[in-house]
């Protein structure tokens, strides 16, 4: 395993060193200094992968990406951000994530210090959005934000459940398809968006009803608990549960456990969907127990570097919109093979980020789809496969 990793790393490094050389077209571009204040914790899969794709992209696009980790402490996050802004040799760009609206002070400080900023994953919301307006108006140095279209993701997941249930005719005695929704929380925009996707999809399907929208704090165990409660309730209620929509993969895995504990066979009598492209989810998909996992939004890290590279090279992504929204993609048993390895090995250097840069004259237009991604992948090192 270690040997494989070492080989992968060696290959990657060789590839990375070679890549810029290969793409000499942009060789005149000056190197960029980019600092990313990571709101997450070390070991937190999503944020780790964001940072990793960011760094991988940096290597491909001549940008030095410095990652500072807040360890899920927003005060730490603010101290880190403000420290960066106060540096004598300021970076070219500062990437922040406005989780819990904690990035606003940093954003304002950067504005004052003349450091250009990009918000990733979480942008300004509510009062801050009203007060500060769109990017580059009040805060001239706030270039924009790059987020994921999680509503569509949520809807896609729901539709997959509905389609499967309809095929299998998993209607309850009342003639309706009964689903359970398990959300992470009710306040963060990321959660609200994907939940809204579920509601949208169900609203469009009159034969479907979400019995409950339960919240499990993104965790597997709580999801298992509430799912078990739901299943028990549904049984008392005489309901035949057709599917469980989980806001992320851990909760989907928890739901799977509860389903199994209830004596129901996932994939056969009930379908469960998750989101995040997590390794465990991919394994369950492979095992036929999980219908799909949507996601890929950890690639926002890489995409953000792409946008900044374009911007630094004079192709402003804001030509389209300062709000760059990236669609996610579902991994099912069908496309599982292509990305499973990438995810599993986190060999993000296999991604040719340069391919995702805007074509000349079409600034701000990027194709960040999973198909493009798959096609951009260089084959894994023979040793890795």
């Amino acid at each position: 395993m270690m040997a494989v990793l070492r080989i992968l790393l060696a290959v990657g490094m060789a590839f990375g060193v070679l890549a810029p050389a290969g793409r000499v077209i942009a060789a005149d571009a000056k190197p960029l200094n980019i600092v990313f204040v990571n709101p997450g914790k070390t070991g937190e899969v999503y944020w780790d992968m964001v940072a990793q794709t960011m760094q991988a992209a940096g290597r491909k696009l001549n940008a030095n990406v410095e990652v500072l980790t807040s360890e899920r402490n927003y005060r730490t996050m603010q101290e880190l951000g403000l420290g960066v802004v106060a540096r004598p040799d300021k970076p070219d760009f500062l990437i922040l994530s406005n989780e819990e609206s904690a990035a606003v002070p940093i954003l304002e400080a950067a504005e004052a210090a003349g450091v250009k900023t990009l918000l990733l994953s979480n942008t300004l919301i509510g009062e801050d959005a009203v007060r500060l307006g769109p990017p580059r108006r009040t805060l001239k140095n706030w270039l924009g934000d790059i987020t994921t279209d999680l509503t569509t993701a949520g809807a896609r997941m729901a539709n997959a459940l509905i389609g499967a249930a309809r095929n299998e005719k998993w209607q309850s005695p009342d003639g309706k398809i009964h689903l359970l929704g398990i959300g992470g929380d009710e306040i963060t925009p990321a959660s609200i968006a994907r939940n809204a996707g579920l509601q949208l999809a169900v609203a469009a399907a009159p034969d479907v009803v979400v019995d409950r929208m339960l919240f499990a704090n993104w965790t597997q165990s709580e999801a298992e608990q509430v799912a078990a409660n739901y299943l028990s309730w549904a049984q008392r209620k005489g309901i035949r549960p057709a599917g469980i929509w989980a806001g992320n993969d851990p909760m989907a895995l928890g739901a799977l456990k509860a389903v199994a504990a209830a004596g129901i066979t996932p994939g056969e009598s009930i379908q469960v969907v998750g989101l995040n492209w997590s390794e465990d989810a991919l394994r369950e998909i492979k095992a036929g127990r999980l219908l799909l996992t949507d996601g890929g939004h950890f690639l926002l890290g890489g995409w953000s570097i792409v946008l900044l590279r374009d911007y630094a090279d004079g192709c402003d992504f804001a030509a389209g919109s300062p709000h760059v929204e990236v669609k996610t993609s579902a991994i099912t048993r069908d496309n599982l093979g292509s990305v499973a390895g990438l995810i599993k090995s986190r060999a993000f250097d296999r991604i040719d980020f340069a391919r995702f840069r805007a074509k000349p004259g079409r600034c701000g237009q990027h194709d960040f789809s999973v198909d493009t991604l798959i096609s951009s992948l260089s084959p894994p090192s023979s040793a890795g496969e």
């Binding site: 929208m213 339960l214 409660n229």
Partner: protein
């Protein structure tokens, strides 16, 4: 207050206050206790009910608030959170159990604090969940709770209230007892003590109560009343022993004074002068000037007596017109007489009544005795003897009690006591004195005259015993005695062939007033078979005046019977010519006083002459009394007075002698000497 009625209890005995205070305590304390207990129990019960309601409301609120809290976790199937919320409910110790059911009725969470055997109350509330999209009933929360704590709390509070109530009542009782003793018992005891002491010696003892409350006022009123009562008692005592009119000590004081006289005297040999003063003719003053003037008169006299005497002397009014002056020490009897005469002089100063001068006159009986005399208490009686003498013998003088007076007194008393025996043993004898026709010397009538032949004292003159007869109320008896004797004499006269001779009897004033006398006379005459016309009744002017109407009525009845009416002693009394005309008279007897000086006194002759001519005019027969000498008889004859009576003709003599004399008819000049007293006997007061 003195419930036991024995005023002999010690004056400080607190019995009266105890009963009042105890009664007050018994009357108030149970009521107080009852009211207190009822009130506090009522408050407690109402508080209990309100606590029950509060508990119900609180548990309902708990259920509602918990329902709100668990709505979301229940709906969102976070059953652990539901249980957590439910567990928090159990901090409330009245809650015994709580459960949450979901919309299928399944128990989602259940917590039981302790198994309870007591009846539980349940409150159930729906758990409503809503968000922007839906509003559903996610389930139901049921809380079972118990009133046990409330019951226990209320019970212990009731117990506490009972104890507090009892303690409060006890304290109230003690406070009442103490304050009642101070504010009621003590002043009452003080007043009782004052009453007890006052009872013992009759003097006023103020109750020592200082407070200014009602009892203080009562005590001061009581003290004032006691003072008034004691003053009234003093006045009553004074009145009992003093004459209200003059303010002098009265008869009762005299008896007390007599008791202390010898004791107060300096030595047993000290001479005590006792003056018994009687005003002469006080009745006349009253009649003439009225009783108010009479009272004024008495007050004047008393003031004079008081002004006369020394400080050691003692003046009293015994009643009516009787006064007493005692001088506790005189040097001798002569000095006492001087003192008495001084008193008389003082009394005799003229007094102005109704603008008319009245000269008071009084008689004094004086008795002087040694202080050591054992008969000192008889002083008033002794002085009265002297006074009797003075009044009867010499009004307006001082009579000193001596052996002679005492002897007279004893004789009078003996005679008075002997009167009944005198009647029963026929000691009274009727003698007869003839009335003679001075022309013919014929006896034409007899006057019955009474004599008392006493076995010890011998023959007693009517002048001495008639007042005693009158005073002892025997006038009527004596009159009938004489009448009967006279009737018997008339029988004998008739037998002796001298029926024309009439007998005159003296009629005292009391008989003249007696309406039945005329009837009795007739009856007596019938009994003896004699004619009433044989009787002549002699009356005096005084008896006419005293009762004019009654007297003239009796006289008319007697005249109708045929009796002759003669006016006796004419000329000595009022000698009213009007009387001669007004009363039915037949005969007038000229008093011997006018006869005595005749024929020497020209005045008397003139008077008799006038009377004779008047009698002739009025058709009255005249009788001259006291004819003792022949020239008197001659003078009478000359003046036209034909009838005479006197020693010249006959002395009074027993009937036998009279009859014998008559038998010797023709020997009319013969004198019969009687051994009777020399004084002319008169049947008149």
């Amino acid at each position: 207050m003195m419930r036991h009625g024995d005023g002999m209890n010690g004056p400080t005995k607190p019995a009266p206050s105890r009963s009042v205070v105890r009664a007050m305590i018994w009357a108030t304390v149970p009521v107080l206790l009852l009211v207190q207990l009822l009130a506090s129990a009522g408050v407690e019960v109402s508080s209990f009910w309100s606590q029950i309601r509060q508990l119900d409301a609180r548990i309902a609120r708990v259920a509602e608030s918990r329902a709100e809290l668990i709505a979301e976790p229940l709906w969102k199937m976070r059953y652990d959170q539901v249980t957590g919320v439910l567990n928090e409910v159990m901090h409330d110790e009245t809650i015994v159990a709580a459960a949450v059911y979901d919309d299928t009725g399944a128990v989602i969470a259940r917590v039981v604090a302790r198994p309870s055997v007591q009846a539980l109350t349940e409150v159930s509330r729906p758990v409503a969940y809503s968000n922007g999209n839906i509003a559903v009933q996610a389930g139901r929360i049921v809380i079972a709770y118990s009133y046990a704590t409330l019951y226990a709390d209320t019970g212990s509070r009731l117990g506490l209230l009972l104890v507090v109530g009892l303690l409060g009542t006890l304290a109230t009782m003690i406070a009442m007892r103490i304050s009642a003793n101070i504010f009621i018992g003590r002043p009452l005891a003080a007043m009782m003590s004052a009453i007890q002491r006052s009872k013992q010696d009759g003097r006023a003892y103020p109750a020592d109560v200082k407070s200014s409350n009602e009892f203080g006022q009562l005590a001061s009123a009581f003290n004032a009343m006691q003072h008034t009562t004691s003053g009234a008692l003093d006045r009553l005592g004074h009145m009992a022993s003093h004459d209200p009119l003059t303010g002098l000590p009265n008869r009762r004081s005299l008896s007390e004074r007599l008791v202390t006289l010898s004791r107060d005297a300096g030595s047993p040999d000290a001479l005590i002068a006792f003056c018994f003063i009687d005003l002469d003719d006080f009745k006349g003053v009253n009649d003439t000037f009225g009783h108010d003037a009479g009272d004024k008169f008495l007050v004047h006299i008393s003031e004079r007596l008081r002004g006369m005497v020394e400080w050691e002397d003692w003046v009293a009014r015994l009643g009516g017109d009787e006064f007493v002056v005692i001088r506790p020490e005189v040097s001798n009897e002569a000095a006492a007489q001087v003192f008495a005469r001084q008193l008389l002089e003082a009394i005799s100063a003229p007094i102005l009544l109704h603008d008319k001068q009245v000269v008071p006159r009084a008689s004094i009986g004086l008795a002087v005795r040694r202080a050591g005399d054992p008969e000192l208490s008889h002083l008033p009686a002794l002085a009265d003897i002297a006074l009797y003498h003075a009044k009867s013998k010499a009004p307006g003088t001082v009579a000193v009690l001596d052996e002679a007076l005492q002897r007279d007194y004893r004789r009078r008393r003996d005679l008075e006591l002997a009167i009944p025996a005198g009647f029963s043993e026929r000691q009274f004898e009727v003698w007869y004195q003839s009335q003679v026709d001075m022309m013919t010397q014929d006896v034409i009538g007899l006057e019955a005259l009474i004599r008392w032949r006493h076995p010890e004292h011998g023959v007693i003159s009517p002048g001495e015993f008639l007042p005693l007869i009158e005073r002892s109320g025997n006038n009527a008896r004596l009159t009938r005695y004489v009448l009967t004797d006279a009737c018997r004499a008339l029988q004998q006269l008739a037998t002796a062939g001298r029926p024309q001779i009439r007998i005159a009897i003296n009629l005292p004033p009391s008989e003249l007033a007696d309406h039945s006398f005329a009837a009795e006379l007739r009856e007596t005459c019938e009994r003896f078979g004699i004619a009433a016309s044989s009787l002549e009744l002699e009356i005096t002017e005084g008896s006419l005046i005293n009762n004019i109407a009654s007297a003239s009525d009796t006289l008319r009845r007697l005249r109708r019977l045929g009796a002759t009416i003669a006016l006796d002693d004419f000329g000595t009394g009022y000698s009213s010519l009007a009387h001669l005309r007004r009363f039915p008279l037949d005969k007038v007897k000229i008093d011997k006083a006018f006869i005595h000086e005749i024929p020497d006194s020209a005045e008397d002759k003139a008077i008799v002459g006038v009377i004779a001519s008047l009698a002739g005019t009025l058709g009255l027969t005249l009788v001259a009394e006291g004819i003792e000498r022949a020239e008197q008889a001659r003078a009478m004859r000359e003046m036209g007075v034909r009838l005479g009576q006197g020693f010249l003709y006959h002395r009074p003599q027993p009937l036998d002698a009279v009859l014998r004399g008559l038998a010797e008819a023709g020997a009319g000049e013969e004198r019969v000497l009687a051994d009777s007293p020399s004084i002319a006997p008169e049947f008149a007061a």
